[in-house]
Every structure is written in C-alpha cells, then in structure tokens.
Symmetry: C2
Subunit: 217 residues, 2 copies
C-alpha cells in the first residue's frame, strides 16, 4: 500500500482513539483538557500526545491545554470524517449483516449503498432497507454509484475474486474482514480486520499468565 505522507501508521492509528476520547469528554460537558489529562484517559504519555498532535500542526496552547471541541473537530477533519463516503458490502453473512446494521458508521459519514451475495436464499432479502443483489452486479453498481470503499465480508476462498471485482468497479479502499492477504495494486488502500489474530492474542496472554502463575507456586 502506497503512503502519501511521513506520518507513521502508529500515529494514524492513535487518531481515532483521541477522537473517541474527546467525544466522551464533550458528552460530559468538559470543554478544556490538558495533555496530562488526556494522558490519564488514554493511557498514552502526555509527551506522546503532544508529539502526535504536533504532526498535524499542534492545537494546544501553553498553559491552557486543548479546547476539547476544537480539537475533536480538527481530528475529525484530519480523519476525513467531515466527508461522505459511499460503500458497498460484498458478502451478506453474519459479518456483512453486522456492518450493514451498524448505525454509527452512517452517522460518521459512511453510507452503505449496496449489499451483494451469491446465495440465492439471501439475494432479495432486505438488510437495513437495502435489497441484497447478486455479486455479479457489484462491479457495474460500483461504477454507476461512484463507490469509494468496498467492504469485503466474503468467505476466504471467494475473497481475492471479490476484491478484484471491487477494484475493477473502481473503489479506492477495501475494508477486509476475510482472513486473507489480498493481492491488490499499490494504489488501493487495504485495511484488514483479522478476528482470529485478535483472538489468538487473547490466548497468548492467557498462556503467559498461566505460566507466570505456575512459576510462582
């Protein structure tokens, strides 16, 4: 995946967290926050927070801290959340259903326009007011509706083929839930959500703890 700035992915991945924490503060009517306070909430060090935000020009004021509302808005802009993105979902199984029904995504500017599957039992079904169509229609649909993001929820063996259909249609990014490393051109953004990897991390940490406890005995 080609990158267009020097900002590291580690910083990029912290931004949604800042955004979420600031939302939380605003909900609790907190208007001003220092990097020390942000550190307490987020678990990142105050200097890391200042460094991260400095990547984007810095928003704090010495002795005042950050205006929570302003910072929230600015990070939202940096994240591109002031824009609208049209998406399609390929694969209307459980994960596809879950994503289609996640109301918070639409509030953040991600609008599901189409859902596609190959299973005749699912085609024609309505999910969140969208009728599931046959996957063979996806490419044309993406072209006609100017879709930016393809959400890939197909089973593993179908996922490379489905990714190619998304790319041929013209999506710029793939949000991939299939446990596969997709082969895509360099100009296509791919973000993987690999649930097994996450669950295996749980298993590792459990085992590590068990071993440490066994040693103590």
């Amino acid at each position: 995946m080609e990158r267009f700035s020097n900002i590291s992915m580690a910083v990029v991945r912290r931004l949604p967290k800042y955004y979420r924490y600031l939302e939380e503060l605003l909900r609790n009517d907190i208007k001003r926050v220092s990097s020390q306070e942000l550190s307490k909430i987020t678990g990142f060090t105050a200097s890391q927070i200042r460094q991260d935000l400095n990547c984007f020009g810095g928003f704090g004021q010495q002795g005042y801290g950050y205006n929570a509302e302003e910072l929230h808005k600015e990070i939202g802009k940096i994240l591109g959340l002031d824009k609208q993105y049209k998406t399609v979902i390929i694969g209307a199984g459980n994960i596809g259903h879950a994503i289609a029904n996640y109301s918070s995504f639409e509030k953040s500017g991600f609008k599901t326009m189409g859902i596609f599957d190959v299973d005749p039992d699912i085609i024609g079904e309505k999910i969140n007011n969208i009728t599931v169509r046959h996957s063979s229609e996806a490419e044309q649909f993406i072209k006609e509706n100017d879709i930016t993001i393809g959400i890939l929820c197909t089973p593993k063996p179908k996922s490379q083929e489905a990714a190619e259909c998304l790319i041929n249609g013209g999506v710029k990014a793939i949000w991939n839930f299939a446990p596969v490393d997709l082969k895509v051109p360099d100009n296509i953004i791919v973000e993987n959500v690999n649930l097994s990897e996450s669950l295996f991390t749980v298993s590792y940490l459990l085992k590590e703890k068990e071993e440490a406890n066994a040693k103590k005995r």
Copy 2:
C-alpha cells in the same frame, strides 16, 4: 492489564501472523523456509523475524532456515493454541451471531458454551446449536462451566455492566467488541476489537491520498 513477560505487545501481535503464513506454506506443501522467504511473504524484514523468533528461544538453523511444520507447531504452542478454552458470548446481535457461527474459532480450540442476551425475542433461539439464555443467568453459568473467555458483543451502554457480570462469574479474559474502554481489575486480560477505529483509519488514508493527488495537480 498486567503483563507477565518482557515480550512486547508488538511482537505478540506478529505471532498470529507468522502462524497464519506458516499454515499457508504447509497447505502448499512447503516444508522449509528461510527468514528471507518469510520476509517476502509477511512483509516484515528478515532480521525482525529472526529477532521475534529469538524472543522465544529461536527455532531456525543457520544455513537451513526453519522447518515450517515445526515452527508452525511451536508458534501454536507459544500462542496457547494447543489448549482448549471455553467461552461465552454476551449479546446475541449481529456480531454475537457472527462470532458464534465462526467455525474456525472452534477448530483453534475456542469452544462457545453459552450465549446470553436480554431481548425476549432472541432468548430461546438456537445459534450454532446453542440456545440463547437470559443474561441474568450468565454469571452462574460461567461459574458452573469454568469459562475462561467472555466475548462481549453488547451495545455500548450495557457493556460495562456485562463485563462486570463476566468478571464476577470468573472469566480470565474479555474479548471486547463494544466501543468502550472497560474498567476491569488489573488481572483481567482485555482485547478490544474496535471497528470504528479501523474504519476511521481507512478514511484517514483516503483523505491523505486525495490531498497528495490535489497537490500534484
């Protein structure tokens, strides 16, 4: 979250990837692999791979590389995948359904024993042969069935309460799909899957690319 070894979370999070890539190699009947070849497949540098595997004693042999089957087995053991874990799912919405139906988790040793919800329309329903029960029964069920992992798929406002019920029941780890930072005792392992954060990363990368393209024009 308390840790019991000096191995960094960054290394821990790479282990499931190695495991998956080695599985792929074995499926293609490849028996021997060098760190250079692993580097090509994984995208990590060869020296990083050697360093990572050295954390656990190192398995390669100078001039031979790694025995793929042995390495796969050893990493599986390090990840604790040679063990069985009993799990419960709290929240039988779309994500809960998806997790319950993921057959690959059971193959890896994670067995869903119970599913709980508060919605009378869902209670009594069978998901993957497990009858959904009322969430008020979860704590007792966890105690009686020696459950290790609680999978939290509740809506945001219910999630802290549900986490406490899991902890009171005696789980050692929570796999959390609710977009909330749970407050838990230090001895409880928490692994968060935050889908919004992942989607916002897509949005950031799209915006970064757009801005770079605009500058070129």
